[in-house]
């Protein structure tokens, strides 16, 4: 019975998270009849897309035992720079090329993070806090600080902004960007589970020294990981620009806490070695559910930040207590066997 319950709970408390989401949904639909409509659901999907892409990047870093706060700066840097270049060059590059350029820019910024962190073994939070301001400062000083409106954006980009996959009769719509976002999510889940690179990330996060002795090239894997996460952030930045139909260099930076909260709630461990794509998706959904709908159930929007902070603290508390429990468990098992 214990194992059945354990399986329901999931390796990273995913089951628990589903239960919490269900409770929140039920509570909200009781509090407000306007909540249970297709419109709310599709708004949730729409607002979860960008955070999900960022959260996947944060999750990858966290599994490897680090913490990254520079991803919003990388995202807007890459997306805005690409837009600025195509406007200044006065050429419409087409969607694929726009995404490729943005992701190369993002990848290079991520590479810089990776080299500094992996080569010199520095604390990831402090390094990325530093590079975040460097990237943002360079963007605003040397590339541009002006808001780019929908009219100025390349046609191929704005065309995608209005491309709805499915317009729901009762109001609301499913945006077509959901396809690439889901694709990327599945791809990362596959990579983590079935590739040597993915397993290496878990191994490094679990025990760096053990990973090294097994023969994993720790520094190289970390550098590639940060590059990948940089590219992923750039992808998220492009999705953000397409959904918002504008490019504002002052945006995105400042949202990192919400994302980290979502990832931690999703069961990824700050100590590394633990975390899953499913958990991260659920964590993002939970945070967005609260962010989107607090007002709907009559709680003023000023409570948003406090609510997410509380949620984050509850999540890490659960994790910390679970950590203590899992450390004690082997001793108990041993005693039972002996008896």
């Amino acid at each position: 019975m214990k194992t059945a319950l354990g399986r329901l709970r999931g390796a990273n408390n995913e089951g628990l998270l589903v239960a919490v989401i269900v409770v929140v949904v039920v509570a909200m639909s009781i509090a407000s009849p306007a909540f249970l409509t297709p419109g709310t659901f599709f708004a949730l999907v729409r607002s979860s897309m960008v955070p999900l892409v960022f959260a996947l990047g944060v999750m990858l870093i966290m599994i490897s035992g680090g913490i990254d706060v520079s991803f919003p700066a990388i995202a807007i840097f890459a997306a805005y720079t690409t837009m600025r270049w195509s406007i200044d060059g006065n050429l419409d590059l087409g969607l694929v090329l726009v995404f490729v350029i943005a992701m190369v820019v993002g990848g290079l910024l991520g590479l810089f993070n990776g080299v500094v962190i992996a080569r010199f073994r520095l604390p990831t939070l402090i390094v990325t806090l530093g590079t975040q301001t460097i990237y943002k400062g360079i963007l605003l000083t040397y590339i541009g600080s002006l808001y780019i409106s929908a009219g100025e954006l390349p046609k191929s980009v704005t065309k995608l902004s209005d491309a709805h996959l499915w317009d729901v009769p009762g109001g609301g719509y499913l945006h077509s960007m959901v396809i690439p976002v889901v694709l990327v999510t599945v791809l990362i889940a596959w990579m983590l589970r079935w590739t040597v690179f993915g397993r290496s990330i878990y191994a490094i996060g679990g025990d760096e020294e053990a990973a090294r002795r097994v023969g994993i090239r720790v520094v190289r894997t970390q550098v590639w990981l940060y590059t990948l996460v940089g590219a992923l952030a750039a992808f998220g930045g492009m999705v953000f620009v397409i959904l918002g139909k504008n490019a504002n260099p002052q945006s995105i930076v400042g949202t990192e806490l919400d994302i980290i909260a979502a990832v931690v709630l999703g069961g990824a461990s700050i100590f590394g070695g633990r975390g899953s794509v499913v958990g991260t998706v659920l964590g993002v959904v939970l945070v967005q559910l609260i962010n989107n709908n607090l007002v709907l159930v009559g709680i003023p929007s000023t409570w948003q930040r406090a609510a997410v902070g509380m949620l984050l603290l509850l999540g890490v508390t659960a994790q910390a207590l679970g950590h203590v429990r899992s450390r004690k468990r082997p001793v108990i098992v041993k005693k039972e066997v002996e008896a």
Partner: protein, 365 residues
């Protein structure tokens, strides 16, 4: 690594210990104070030569003296947390919490009982504000020591939470009104030195004495240098960490009072750019991000240096974003340089690894 063929164990221990303390002293001077003093002087001269008219003006110099205290106090608050190997990201939120508490309490007393009552109540109101700061710091302490959450995550959460609660309380607007005594203190000067700067110096000296001359300070440093050795020495990690984060809250609260004395208004979003700045200062001041080493003087000098840099950038008509780039580059650059120096020192024969030294030190106690 020590030579195994040499004499009895105690002798090795003693040698390890002397080598360790010698290394410690070298790091203290080399990493923090000496370098920072030099950097401060160089930065100052650099801008003084480049823009003497603006940079050396009375207003500019006074401005450095007025902004440095709040940043210095917040840096000390982060420093003491980093000394235990942790970090406190919630310092600015705590400072704002104190400022908002004092401001709203004062305004409500003023409105209900008049100026005279409000003035006579001022000490009590200030005390309440400081108590709020210490309490918020103590909550951090509980989360880190009792619940066992990693300091980065715990204070990331409380940063968000305290900031969010301040937003709820103020409704997102700036609250104005500050005790008149506090405001006159903000603009007063003794012998041309701003009172706020004197407050920073007093706080720094007090913290220096706490860290270097008292048992609790030693415990805090050992907790960061080697938690295992600390545990085997019979030191309670729980009470040490509680004390650390409560002190951090106290220092942040004083910074909050300074916020209020300078602007006579408080808001939830004041000083949001300080979080990075303060970490830059603490690391630049020679604090080891992994715990164990920190000097108050180094951190104070680093705070002054960055303030000089900031006003120098303004005098050169460079933007706040360029100053942000400089902050980031300094932070990453200093850590990389430290790491490279640390590596070369480690390879040199004769010096011992930190852990052995700390354990040896703990055993001889």
């Amino acid at each position: 690594m020590s030579d195994p063929s040499r004499g009895p164990l105690t002798e090795i221990n003693q040698q390890v210990e002397t080598a360790f303390t010698a290394a410690l002293e070298r790091i203290h001077v080399g990493r923090g104070v000496g370098r920072m003093a030099l950097l401060l002087v160089v930065t100052f001269i650099f801008f003084a030569i480049l823009r003497p008219g603006i940079f050396l003006s009375q207003v500019n110099l006074q401005n450095i003296g007025l902004v440095a205290p709040e940043i210095g106090l917040l840096s000390l608050a982060v420093m003491i947390a980093m000394l235990t190997g942790g970090i406190d990201l919630s310092v600015v939120a705590i400072a704002n919490g104190t400022a908002i508490t004092v401001s709203t309490l004062y305004t409500s007393v003023l409105n209900s009982q008049g100026q005279g009552a409000a003035d006579s109540m001022t000490p009590l109101i200030l005390l309440a504000g400081v108590a709020v700061g210490v309490a918020l710091g103590a909550i951090n302490g509980v989360l880190v020591s009792v619940v066992g959450i990693t300091p980065i995550l715990a204070t990331l959460g409380t940063w968000q939470l305290y900031n969010g609660l301040a937003l709820v309380w103020t409704g997102g607007i700036t609250v104005s009104g500050a005790p008149s005594g506090l405001m006159s203190m903000g603009s007063a000067a003794v012998l041309g030195i701003p009172v706020l700067l004197i407050i920073l110096i007093v706080a720094a000296v007090a913290l220096g004495v706490l860290i270097n001359r008292t048992a609790i300070g030693r415990k805090i440093a050992l907790q960061g240098a080697n938690p295992v050795a600390s545990k085997f020495s019979g030191i309670s990690a729980r009470s040490t960490l509680m004390m650390t984060y409560a002190t951090s809250g106290l220092l942040s609260a004083v910074a909050g009072l300074i916020f209020l004395s300078r602007s006579s208004s408080a808001s939830a979003d004041y000083g949001s750019s300080y979080v990075l700045l303060v970490i830059v200062i603490v690391v630049l001041g020679g604090t080891n991000p992994n715990g164990g080493f920190a000097t108050v003087l180094g951190v104070i000098l680093a705070a002054l240096t960055l303030q000089v840099l900031s006003s120098g950038f303004t005098a050169m008509r460079l933007s706040a974003y360029q100053y942000a780039i400089a902050q980031g580059v300094i932070l990453v650059g200093v850590m990389v340089l430290d790491q490279m120096r640390f590596k070369t020192r480690k390879r040199r024969p004769g010096t011992n690894s930190e852990e052995q030294g700390a354990i040896a030190e703990a055993e001889t106690k």
